[in-house]
C-alpha cells in the first residue's frame, strides 16, 4: 500500500498547525477573491508570492494552491447571488444559479455548488495522488527533444482552448515567448534586448507580467463602465436542498467530476472548458431541457463540480512534468523556483513531504471550504457590498507594494505599468492575456531544450522526429493547430461557446 503510506506522510505534513493555518488563510483569501468581481486569482497569487518567500516551501505552496481552488469556489457565490461571475469558470453557473436565486432558491443553489465542489475536489485529489507518481516516472525518461516537443504541444493546445481567434492567441504566445528572451542568454551570457539597463539583465520578472496583465489591465477594463456595478444581492434563506433537489444533483455531480478531472489536465484553462462542457452535457441529456436557463439545479451542480475537479487536476502537469497548465500554475512554478525546487518529475522523489503534503492539503482545503462557505454565506454576501471605489485603490496599492518587495527594485513596479497598459491595449484588440503569460513562462524552457537537443544531436534537427515520444507530441501539436485554425472547425467551436454563454 504505497499510496496509503504516501497519504499518511502527506497528512502528517499537511496537518502541522502552521500548514492548516495557512491552508485556511489561502482558501479564505481565495474565496474572497472569487466572490469579489474584478480581482482574479492570478493577480492575487502574483501579489502574495513575495509574502510567501519567508515561509517553508510546503507552507507557501499550500497557501497559494488554496487561493487558487478557493477562488473556484467563491466565484459561484457571486454568480448565483448577483449574476456576476467573479471568476471566468463561474460564468455558466450564473445562468441557472442566478435564475434559481431570483425564484428565492439561492440557498439550494449555493448548497448544490458547495457540495458538488467538495465531492469533485475529493475525487480529483485522489486522481492526482494516483496518477502523478507513474506519470512522473515516465517524465524522468524525457530528454531535451521530448521536452521541447511537449512544451510546444502544451502551448498549442492552450490556444485551442483560448477564446477569440486562434491566430491572435498564437500571436499572444509568440509575444510572450519573445518577452521571455529578454535578459542574459543562458549559454553565452550575452545580454539580449536589455537596452543597456542593468535591471533587465536578469530578465523580466514574471510576477510583474502577471500583476500588470491580470491586475492593472483588469482594473482599467473595469473602470470603463463603473455604472454597471450596482449589485442587487438576493436574499439567502433555507440552504438545505429538498429531497427532489438532492436526487437531481447526484448525476450531474458525478459526471461533472469525471469531466473536470479529465479536462483539468489540459493546458490553457481546462477549468473553464470543463464547466462549459459539463453544462452542455447536462443540458443535452436532461429530461427537463426547458428548465435550463430558468433555474435547473443540474446546471449549477454539474459545472461547479467540473470546475473544481479541474482546478485540482490541473496540478498534475505541474507536479509531474514541471509544465504549468495556466497562469496560476505558472506562478506556482515561480514559487517552487524561489524556494530552490525545480518543479517537475523529481519533486516526488526528492521532496516527498512537499509533494504529498500539498496533495493532502488540497483535501483539507476542500473540507475547510465547505465549512467556510455554507455557514458563513452571510459574511460573503456582506462583502459584496464593498464599493469598487474602495476596492481598486486597495488592489493597486497592494500590487505596487507586493511587486516592489520582490527585489526592492523600482523597475519591477515600472514593469507592471508597462504590462498593465500593454495588457489593456491587447484586451481592447480582442487578445487574451493568458496565452501571453504561458508563453512568457514556457519560452525560456522551450529555448533551452531546443538548443540543448540540437547540441546533443550536433545540429541535426531530425531528432525531434526520430524520437518517438517527441514525434508523437509534435504530431499532436500539429493536429491541434490544424483544428484550431481550420475555419470550419473553428466555427463549430465558437458555436459551442456561444451556445453556452
Amino acid at each position: 500500500m504505497e499510496l496509503f503510506d504516501n497519504l499518511v506522510l502527506g497528512f502528517s505534513t499537511a496537518l502541522l498547525i502552521q500548514n492548516i493555518l495557512y491552508c485556511f488563510v489561502g482558501v479564505l483569501l481565495g474565496t474572497a477573491v472569487g466572490v469579489l468581481p474584478g480581482i482574479g486569482p492570478t493577480a492575487t497569487v502574483a501579489m502574495l508570492l513575495p509574502i510567501t518567500f519567508s515561509f517553508e516551501p510546503v507552507t507557501a505552496l499550500i497557501m497559494l494552491a488554496g487561493i487558487y481552488y478557493g477562488a473556484q469556489y467563491g466565484g459561484s457565490t457571486t454568480a448565483i447571488l448577483i449574476n456576476l461571475p467573479g471568476e471566468s469558470s463561474a460564468a455558466v453557473t450564473a445562468l441557472d444559479g442566478h435564475a434559481m436565486a431570483r425564484q428565492g432558491r439561492a440557498g439550494p443553489a449555493l448548497a448544490a455548488a458547495a457540495v458538488g465542489s467538495f465531492i469533485a475536489g475529493t475525487v480529483a485529489t485522489v486522481v492526482l495522488a494516483v496518477a502523478a507518481p507513474p506519470l512522473a516516472s515516465i517524465a524522468l525518461e524525457f530528454g531535451p527533444a521530448e521536452y521541447f516537443s511537449l512544451v510546444l504541444f502544451g502551448l498549442i493546445v492552450s490556444i485551442a482552448l483560448a477564446r477569440g481567434t486562434a491566430l491572435k492567441a498564437l500571436a499572444m504566445i509568440a509575444l510572450g515567448v519573445a518577452f521571455g528572451t529578454v535578459g542574459q542568454d543562458i549559454y553565452t551570457g550575452t545580454p539580449r534586448f536589455v537596452f543597456d539597463q542593468r535591471e533587465l539583465y536578469g530578465g523580466i520578472d514574471f510576477v510583474s507580467v502577471a500583476v500588470g496583465m491580470f491586475g492593472v489591465a483588469e482594473i482599467l477594463r473595469n473602470l470603463e463602465n463603473e455604472q454597471t456595478r450596482t449589485a442587487v444581492v438576493s436574499k439567502v434563506k433555507n440552504l438545505w436542498p429538498t429531497r427532489e433537489d438532492r436526487r437531481r444533483i447526484v448525476g450531474p455531480i458525478a459526471r461533472g467530476t469525471g469531466l473536470g478531472a479529465a479536462l483539468g489536465v489540459l493546458p490553457g484553462g481546462g477549468h473553464v472548458l470543463a464547466s462549459f462542457t459539463s453544462y452542455a452535457v447536462e443540458k443535452r441529456i436532461s429530461k427537463r431541457q426547458k428548465e435550463f436557463g430558468d433555474g435547473a439545479i443540474e446546471g449549477v451542480a454539474g459545472p461547479e463540480s467540473a470546475n473544481n475537479a479541474a482546478a485540482q487536476t490541473s496540478f498534475i502537469p505541474l507536479l509531474t512534468l514541471g509544465l504549468p497548465a495556466h497562469p496560476v500554475m505558472a506562478l506556482m512554478v515561480g514559487a517552487f523556483i524561489v524556494h530552490g525546487i525545480t518543479p517537475g518529475p523529481n519533486v516526488i522523489n526528492d521532496e516527498p513531504e512537499l509533494f504529498w503534503g500539498l496533495i493532502a492539503s488540497m483535501w483539507i482545503g476542500n473540507a475547510l471550504l465547505l465549512l467556510l462557505n455554507l455557514p458563513l454565506i452571510g459574511m460573503w454576501v456582506r462583502m459584496l457590498r464593498i464599493p469598487y471605489n474602495v476596492l481598486f485603490p486597495m488592489i493597486m496599492l497592494f500590487a505596487a507594494i507586493g511587486t516592489y518587495s520582490l527585489g526592492f527594485n523600482a523597475y519591477d513596479v515600472y514593469a507592471i505599468v508597462f504590462f498593465g497598459v500593454l495588457g489593456y491595449i491587447l484586451i481592447k484588440c480582442g487578445c487574451e492575456p493568458a496565452p501571453l503569460l504561458l508563453g512568457f513562462v514556457l519560452g525560456p524552457l522551450l529555448e533551452e531544450n531546443l538548443r540543448r537537443a540540437l547540441i546533443i544531436s550536433r545540429g541535426d534537427a531530425s531528432v525531434f522526429l526520430t524520437r518517438p515520444i517527441s514525434a508523437a507530441c509534435l504530431a499532436l501539436a500539429a493536429a491541434a493547430l490544424v483544428i484550431a485554425v481550420l475555419p470550419a472547425i473553428r466555427k463549430r467551436r465558437e458555436e459551442v461557446f456561444a451556445d453556452d454563454e
Binding site: A174, A178, Y187, I219, N389, M396, I401, S405, V417, R451
Partner: protein
C-alpha cells in the same frame, strides 16, 4: 477591426529582433511573431472590418500609471507610509465618481492597513519614512 489590428500589430513588430543575439531563437520567435502580426493585420484589412475601441477611461489610465510610477520612484526616498498614502490617494481619483472626503478616508485606511500587514506583520524591510523626510 482594422484599427484594432493595426494597434495590436504595432506591439508585435516591436518583438522583431533586428540584432540577432546569441543563437537564432529570438530571431525565430521574432519572425514568427511578425508573420502572425502581419497575418492579423491582413485578415483585418481583407475583411474590411472596423471595430471601435469603445470608451477608453483615459482618466483612469493616466491616473493609475502616474500613481504606480510615483510609487516606484519615491518608495525608497520618501519611505513606505507617505508613498503608500499618496499612491492610494491618487488611484482613488481614477474613478469618476469619487468624492474628495471619501478619497482621503480610503487612502488613510489603506495606508494604515498596508503598513500593518506588510511592515508590522510580514516584517518587510522598507523604511517607514525615507531619507527625503526630516525625521
Amino acid at each position: 477591426m482594422g484599427g484594432a489590428f493595426a494597434v495590436g500589430s504595432l506591439s508585435y513588430e516591436l518583438g522583431t529582433p533586428l540584432r540577432m543575439g546569441p543563437g537564432y531563437f529570438p530571431l525565430l520567435v521574432g519572425a514568427i511573431l511578425a508573420a502572425l502580426g502581419l497575418g492579423i493585420v491582413l485578415k483585418g484589412l481583407v475583411a474590411g472590418e472596423v471595430v471601435s475601441f469603445g470608451t477608453v477611461p483615459w482618466r483612469a489610465v493616466g491616473v493609475i500609471v502616474l500613481a504606480l510610477l510615483f510609487f516606484g520612484f519615491t518608495v525608497r526616498r520618501l519611505g513606505f507610509v507617505p508613498t503608500s498614502a499618496v499612491t492610494a490617494l491618487l488611484t482613488t481619483f481614477a474613478s469618476t465618481r469619487v468624492r474628495p472626503l471619501m478619497a482621503v478616508a480610503v487612502a488613510a485606511g489603506l495606508t494604515l492597513a498596508s503598513t500593518l500587514i506588510f511592515v508590522v506583520a510580514l516584517q518587510l524591510r522598507i523604511p517607514l519614512f525615507g531619507p527625503w523626510l526630516p525625521f
